[in-house]
């Protein structure tokens, strides 16, 4: 407990020194309140995204058109529940509480990734989510394996490995569908048309309008800007779309030899802001579903706690 008696300036110097040397901060370390709050917000929103993200794909488990695809999809959605669990646990190392974070989610006080406010309309959406949405998530998340907060960085290593697996499964589903019937190819193109722009929005607002980027980069809890990551994603996606044989829905997409990057059309940031404000196609439905599961399960959790107390008393 010597940490408490040290003057704050010295603690802060130690904290900054740890970050400067690219070392990890651990739960036992003194952390500035702002850093702690930022990390809880970042990790909780990531956890919420995993849990809300189970819904759009979960929508197709019972209808998956082959037993192999059904098993793959159920296992994937199960992995997302597992990611939520690790991440809530990482947030708990900062003093947060899982039940409290869930309350914040269902009361709208904490956010989750806007992408999950779009509907999954055909089975091809399962593949396109794997390819583009998990692909964009990986671009965002791989740098977080070097986050300055140790428990988060370690959780991200495992999560990124599983996400990569999901993403390849999604791409493989799309390749199979593109080799199938015309009806299947049409489904893949339609799903690509619907998910492409929302996937680009997953990297967040343009750098000039990103309120938290500067501080997060200084603390090394964020490693690249939104626009840098978005450009990388576009550059990687174009050749993949060619391999698949789908057209990305952007007539302005073209190679710029001077920049050595693809140019792309303007993103509709009004749509992004509208979804962020809660007015996307599925915002209400997603939160209502999470709230219902939480409320319907309250008596079960209370019973488990009561039973555990009885057992503990019996064991004394």
């Amino acid at each position: 407990m010597t940490a408490i008696t040290e003057p704050e300036a010295e603690l802060l110097a130690h904290f900054e020194h740890t970050i400067d040397r690219d070392q990890r901060l651990e739960p036992r370390d003194w952390l500035p309140e702002g850093y702690r709050r930022t990390m809880i917000r970042q990790i909780a929103q990531h956890a919420h995204s995993e849990i809300i993200g189970m819904q759009p794909e979960g929508n197709w488990i019972t209808r998956a058109p082959s037993l192999r695809r059904k098993a793959i999809l159920l296992a994937k959605v199960q992995d997302e529940a597992g990611h939520g669990l690790y991440l809530y646990s990482a947030a708990e190392t900062l003093g947060a509480d899982r039940a409290d974070l869930t309350d914040r989610l269902i009361n709208g006080r904490q956010k989750y990734s806007s992408i999950f406010n779009y509907p999954t309309l055909t089975f091809a959406d399962v593949g396109v989510i794997g390819w583009l949405v998990d692909g964009a998530a990986i671009c965002n998340q791989v740098p977080l394996c070097r986050s300055s907060y140790g428990p988060y960085a370690r959780a991200m290593i495992r999560i990124c490995k599983e996400e990569s697996f999901h993403q390849r499964q999604g791409f493989e589903l799309l390749m199979t569908m593109m080799r199938g019937t015309q009806g299947q190819r049409d489904m893949v193109q339609d799903a690509t048309n619907r998910w492409w722009w929302p996937s680009l929005m997953m990297f967040g607002p343009p750098d000039a309008e990103s309120p938290n980027t500067e501080q997060s980069m200084a603390w090394k809890v964020k490693r690249h800007t939104n626009d840098e990551l978005r450009q990388r994603f576009v550059d990687m996606s174009v050749p993949q779309a060619e391999v698949l044989g789908v057209t990305l829905p952007d007539p302005k997409l073209s190679w710029n030899a001077d920049r050595e990057h693809y140019d792309f059309g303007a993103i509709d940031w009004d749509e992004f802001q509208n979804v962020l404000r809660g007015n996307g196609p599925c915002n209400t439905q997603r939160v209502a579903q999470r709230r219902k599961a939480s409320e319907d399960g309250a008596w079960v959790r209370e019973a488990a706690a009561a039973h555990a107390r009885k057992k503990a008393q019996g064991d004394e």
Binding site: T62, A64, P65, S66, L67, Q78, M177, M236, A298, A303
Partner: protein
């Protein structure tokens, strides 16, 4: 920056071996000797495999419907695990059926292209999920019965069925344990949970007796040492249910069995009204694209 990110590697078009599980997908029983044991009726064996496979497939379907609805994240993971195990069991049993009946039809034919009346599952697995208490009572009944059955099936004269059963025993042991733990927690939890748990157990009980009826196929294959006679499972089932309900401070119900139609029930393809909706949901995409490959 190249290749520090798995996404980047996707477009590298080499060959299909980069997919962890391959794209040239093998049947679950590929490479296994599926010759019928001497004197065993292939059509009968296929019908038996469909009974056990349909039980697994439909039970899994109901568990899949818990996804994103479970009371806690740990249970999301657990219920998905059990659902996955059961899909795996169904796939192996359907593959065995396709070899045994000589048709060489694949697993997906049996899951997606049979009509409602051709399914041979017991009615227990098809009823709607109800609340968590009903679902746990149903899972306890199902897993206890199935574990007893699979245990005996490990010595089946059909080596393939015996091997499928041996794999299933390990899985089903966990399913039974998971359900039993919840029945105890809920039965001996709060007043509300005890009330719900008793109601759930009472509601599932009329579907129990059907599990121990011997179908004529089980009778004939049983004589050949291939199938398990379900009438012989009741004592083990009762002993487990007694132990769990006593620990959970619940009463074992004494309700009458749910009648069939002229004595015919799930094993005869006579199901409940709700089953058609299960099949419609399960098969909708596959049937909309009958020429597709997935």
């Amino acid at each position: 920056m190249a290749f520090d990110n798995a996404y980047e590697a996707l477009g590298e078009y080499t060959d299909d071996s980069r997919w962890a599980f391959g794209t040239g997908f093998d049947e679950p029983l590929a490479g296994v000797d599926t010759t019928l044991p001497a004197g065993v009726d292939g059509a009968g064996l296929a019908a038996y495999c469909l009974m056990l496979g349909d039980d697994a497939l439909i039970m899994s379907h109901r568990l899949q419907q818990w996804c994103t609805n479970a009371p806690e994240l740990e249970d999301e993971v657990a219920l998905a695990n059990i659902g996955l195990d059961l899909i795996g069991q169904a796939r192996l049993l359907f593959a065995r059926a396709g070899k045994a009946d000589g048709s060489d039809r694949g697993e997906d034919h049996y899951a997606f292209f049979r009509d409602e009346r051709e399914f041979r599952n017991v009615r227990l697995v098809e009823t709607p999920n109800g609340d968590f208490a009903y679902s746990m009572a149903r899972l306890l009944v199902f897993a206890t019965w199935r574990l007893a059955l699979l245990h005996r099936l490990t010595t089946s004269a059909d080596q393939v069925l015996a091997a499928i059963a041996a794999k299933g025993v390990k899985e089903t042991t966990y399913h039974r344990d998971y359900a039993a733990q919840w029945v105890v927690r809920l039965g001996d939890g709060t007043e509300e949970s005890a009330r719900r748990m008793q109601i759930g157990l009472d509601a599932v009980w009329p579907l129990v007796e059907e599990l121990f009826h011997r179908h004529e196929i089980e009778h004939s294959l049983g004589a050949a040492g291939v199938a398990v006679d379900p009438t012989g499972l009741r004592a083990e089932f009762d002993a487990v249910l007694d132990q769990v309900t006593v620990t959970a401070r619940l009463r074992l119900p004494e309700t009458a069995a749910l009648a069939g139609v002229s004595g015919r029930t799930g094993r005869d393809g006579v199901h409940t009204e709700t089953f058609g909706f299960v099949i419609a949901e399960l098969q909708s995409v596959a049937r909309a694209h009958p020429d597709a490959t997935w």
